[in-house]
Symmetry: C2
Subunit: 333 residues, 2 copies
Amino acid sequence: MRIVVDAMGSDNRPGPDVAGAVWAAREFEETIILVGDQAQIEAELAKEDTAGLPIEVRHAATAVPMDAKPTEVVKGLPGSSMHVGLGLVRDGEADAFVTAGNTGAVLAIATLRGVGLGRIPGVKRPGLGVVFPIKERPFLIDSGANADCKAEYLLQFGIMGSIYMARVHGVENPRVGLISNGEEEGKGTELVKEAGALLKASGLNYVGNIEPKEFMNGAANVAVTDGFSGNLIMKTSEAIAKYMSDAIREQMMAGPRTILGGLLARPAFTRVRRQLDPEEVGGAPLLGVQGVVIIGHGRSGALAIKHAVGQARLVVQSGVVGAIEEGIVSRNP
Amino acid sequence: MRIVVDAMGSDNRPGPDVAGAVWAAREFEETIILVGDQAQIEAELAKEDTAGLPIEVRHAATAVPMDAKPTEVVKGLPGSSMHVGLGLVRDGEADAFVTAGNTGAVLAIATLRGVGLGRIPGVKRPGLGVVFPIKERPFLIDSGANADCKAEYLLQFGIMGSIYMARVHGVENPRVGLISNGEEEGKGTELVKEAGALLKASGLNYVGNIEPKEFMNGAANVAVTDGFSGNLIMKTSEAIAKYMSDAIREQMMAGPRTILGGLLARPAFTRVRRQLDPEEVGGAPLLGVQGVVIIGHGRSGALAIKHAVGQARLVVQSGVVGAIEEGIVSRNP
């Protein structure tokens, strides 16, 4: 297997990206192709012990700026590491593409046929999935690729998410829920009501509307929503988790008794914080494009990059792309 | 001042509702009108020392079931405590209505002219606001009254929220933000883009798009969003806060050292939990109807009911309803 890692992806590129790629090459024993500025990549590689590791370097003249507008990058920056890396997957020279770069940019480039990979036939809109870092590990799709959605996109997110959870995470007949502001049928926006009717008739293991509480409790293995709402759920979760950690730390510093308590209890906090840490999760799969694409957090360190490569490997092995093609076609007569 | 309390509101009605009303009558020295089943209310009042307190009872033949569909209740249950209580406000016999009952039902009844209060002239859709129980106390509107919104509703939520925060919470020239999935202008759904343009031209102290992180940090005093997204933000916050509390407690039980630490640090947790407790916040004001309506959590205990009455009192005193009428008319030539 050959996995491309965008060396120019993370906020601190190319350090964590290269270190994570080396780590992955050693652990998974698959070929890693680092794409980006050759001189910078080689300088980073020189810091590591790479003897005997299956690592290749492919030069890319530019890197996508973190804050670049996707529309400007897609055709305006054809030599970027994202273009070159996705091109390798498109041309069959590699099996998967991993990046911690500008999410909007990689979505746009990957989705455009001829430039990146293009959509799987029949797929209306690729969806960005994410395994939520809580105990039940629910899969949220779309978590941010498509702000405005139609009901049929949501149906397809359900199909693709179900295939992903079954194949990659071994969940048998995944329960599919629809995010809404009430559990009762008929609650929600017009979009939710329409999508609910489609999902109910889909043959998926559809459990109906779920609220955030049910989502966190694992009422569904796959939670379907539009990219705007999915993004809000993800970012609100991150923001509240941080708020609570900070508030508890602050309150603990209020007196000697709680300071001592905090010191003694620290391992418990560390475990909870680590559980909720994006570093531990890896990346978000972009489902519905003609190839395997895993997008990591911009804050990714080497560990997160390594996890993302491991995830890409599982997705390739489990044949998700082919299964989605089959699943979408069979449901779109 | 005369404030109506729906005795048949909370999940455990009428106990907490009556106890909270008595508490409020004692603390605020305003007349409280308890509306609901007279026999049940009097049985609860008999448990309290109400000598000399300005409490009246008004009988209502029925109560709105917690899970009743709003559409079925509005005209189907005309003798409910919500109908009777809101009628007192409409007819000038009382100044405000407080309930911890079925939110959808009170929204529907209050909004319908002739049945409840009706909308303030010029208001397209009343919005449900909520002061978020975090340090910066941002106001989120709409938090659940209108799942599907148009841009002009969002503009009006901004106007009404701004008036509320200025008058009731004394915030000078409140900063108004628009919830989106990215801070840059142009990020978000079509609805967000349209509403952003209206807010920018509104004369409000508009600070642009805010993400959940900025919302939690207090980047805006008023955060405008549609009722579907607002509800997701609120419920995701509650769900994650509960998840973290449970996870920390569980991890602390893992060994003697962390158990001891947890015992010592308990006061710090209690303070954080209390800070985030809906009991402490009071209720959510419904803005845009012709009268003061405060809606409490179904789980409300006596303390929450008392807080909600206190909030209703502040809203009446500060003349929010008249100011909204003026503010909406002056911006809708």
